[in-house]
Subunit: 359 residues, 2 copies
């Protein structure tokens, strides 16, 4: 195991070559680190701005062994890295962060909810579903509307279906492929918030101001940050973030999505054990953004400051919305972040823009 | 010639793989561009964060032809690219910015001073020196102390010698290798300022707030920005920057070093046709830093805003000063920028730190 903190010149591995990996790589290089990406797509967005890329599947044992040997620490831009891959990485000699517990919990919605409620970070009511009978029992207990989600591998609204009436239970069960799932009660929320937080190897934590999020079709459209929240809500969100981080013995940046039920009452929607789309505003609102913060955490550096020096409205540019770049480039308060993706497929995250206010 | 503005996904070439090329590359990738570096050193600081690097001498004709073909626009991190290289690049089909005029002028201190005075950007008195007799005549006219500088290829205090008495003329002439030179009168300045400015293909200009610079041993140590200057000095500096940019029909970011003689009287010390060490503060003081500004300019994008949202004290970390990284990483107002250089040779620019105030 390498000594911490890792000095500049060390190599950081990132599993996943998309935009999150790209922005992690850019932050790491600003701190003098070399970065190696693992991604099956040649010349991935992250690979193109990094020292190197291993072109292989995320679970390719040889590739993982190489990553473990070349890198002093390996981290992830997405949470669906198999547990076995983690072991192979660790055998290569690298530190791995976040660790296996965080991944295991975040990969399974039922385990995640059980964990969250156990550490005092309450979720909506839920019911594990392994069969149509389970689903029917769940609908009876939770009522409708409710949302049925696959336990594993869902993101951005994929692998989930809303159930408005118990009569459609069988159709919903078929729609998600009759896979292990969880039924969630509808949260009666006034808005969606998120909190981005970090924890170091030494247990030090740092929490950014809350963001208020607007989703459209299951995909994040806009984050406003710092969100206008009362002191009680702010305290509660920070306490939840800290409970989650400590409960997972976490190292790195985590995103915690929250339903704001009003009067300082929050429910955790889900956690993402990685840098998070709702934290992109920190790039232009904070001295130390979430990407640098994650690199600092996994490399054993002191965590950076999390105070905001500006209000930011972050908007995702999906699919051909990226063609707005030339108009946005002319706005004096707009900071563009483009991901270097060639194909603007419908709904694909191509870029984001931070509109910076109150400077 | 490619159409402007260059869309994201285009390739930008950068001649020179040091820290300036590295930070240009990082800014370009943030805007969705691919970057290819030309540098003789394998895995140069810039090459390590770019799509690719051509490993060859800066004047290698084949390498330049390749750069010209692969890139839609080629720019530089340093100004000593031979004029012939520029032609080879242009023949490859790429735009080249800044253009040949700016390079030609900036490569020769006598041409530079003649140009500056001609466009109303006054320099100190100077005397071209091609022989010991020229030097003696110059010392008679300008008096002592005076500084003798080689006409070409000097930087960071290299290739120059101070003459305190006319008796040492021969020694000084020998010290600079009896090369074509220029003798400059001593400027009786109260402080050193600089102005970073940009100009687009369409003639649009943008000027950043002034920086106040502290040099040590001919090398920049610290820039404080925005500098505390009166309105007259500010106006004068901006007028000088604009005169220089327009006079050169310039495209890109330029650094203009100024002697502040007091009462709004300025003399241009020298110009650097590239992003400039005294502009590093913009990374943490402005929405659009000098690196993004340069990329915007050469790619034909609208220029970005130049207002400062913070006061910044930029300090270079030279040689083993880079070992302060771990101490600086713990300061809540410090933003570190490390260049990924392996060897901390004495005096080598290894990193800089922006201390951000008044957030």
């Amino acid at each position: 195991m390498p000594d911490l903190p890792l000095p500049p010149g060390s190599t950081i591995g990132v599993i996943g070559g998309g935009q999150l990996g790209r922005m992690l790589s850019q932050a790491a290089s600003r701190l003098g680190f070399d970065v190696v990406i693992l991604d099956p797509e040649e010349n991935s967005p992250a690979g193109r701005v990094s020292r190197g890329q291993v072109v292989a599947a995320y679970d390719d044992p040889t590739a993982l062994t190489v990553m473990g040997r070349v890198c002093q620490v390996v981290t992830f831009e997405f949470e669906n890295v198999p547990a076995a891959s983690m072991e192979t990485l660790a055998e290569g000699g690298a530190l791995v962060a976040p660790g296996p517990t965080a991944l295991k919990v975040a990969q399974d919605r039922v385990e995640e909810k059980a964990f969250l409620n156990a550490v005092g970070a309450p979720t909506v009511d839920y019911h594990p579903v392994d069969s149509l009978d389970d689903l029917k029992a769940g609908l009876e207990r939770l009522g409708t509307p409710a949302v049925l989600k696959t336990r594993r591998e869902g993101y951005d609204g994929k692998g989930q279906v809303w159930i408005k009436s118990a009569k459609t239970a069988a159709a919903a069960w078929a729609a998600i492929g009759e896979r292990p799932a969880v039924l969630e009660a509808k949260a009666d929320f006034v808005r969606e918030l998120s909190v981005i937080a970090a924890r170091g190897w030494n247990g030090e934590t740092a929490v950014y101001p809350l963001g208020e999020n607007i989703h459209s079709g299951g995909v994040l459209k806009t984050t406003l940050a710092p969100a206008a929240v009362d002191a009680k809500t702010d305290r509660r969100a920070r306490a939840i973030a800290k409970a989650v981080l400590d409960g997972l013995d976490y190292v790195g940046v985590i995103g915690v999505e929250l339903f704001d039920l009003g009067d300082g009452v929050l429910r955790v929607n889900e956690i993402a054990p990685r840098v998070h789309n709702t934290g992109h505003w920190t790039q232009d609102g904070c001295v130390c953004d979430q990407f640098e913060q994650h690199i600092r955490a996994v490399a054993g550096w002191p965590l950076g400051p999390t105070t905001a020096h500006a209000r930011v409205e972050m908007t995702n540019l999906l699919g051909d919305e990226v063609e707005q770049w030339s108009k946005l480039a002319a706005k004096s308060d707009a900071r563009l972040h483009l991901y270097g993706k060639a194909e603007a497929r419908p709904g694909r995250k191509m870029a984001h823009v931070n509109r910076v206010k109150n400077l």
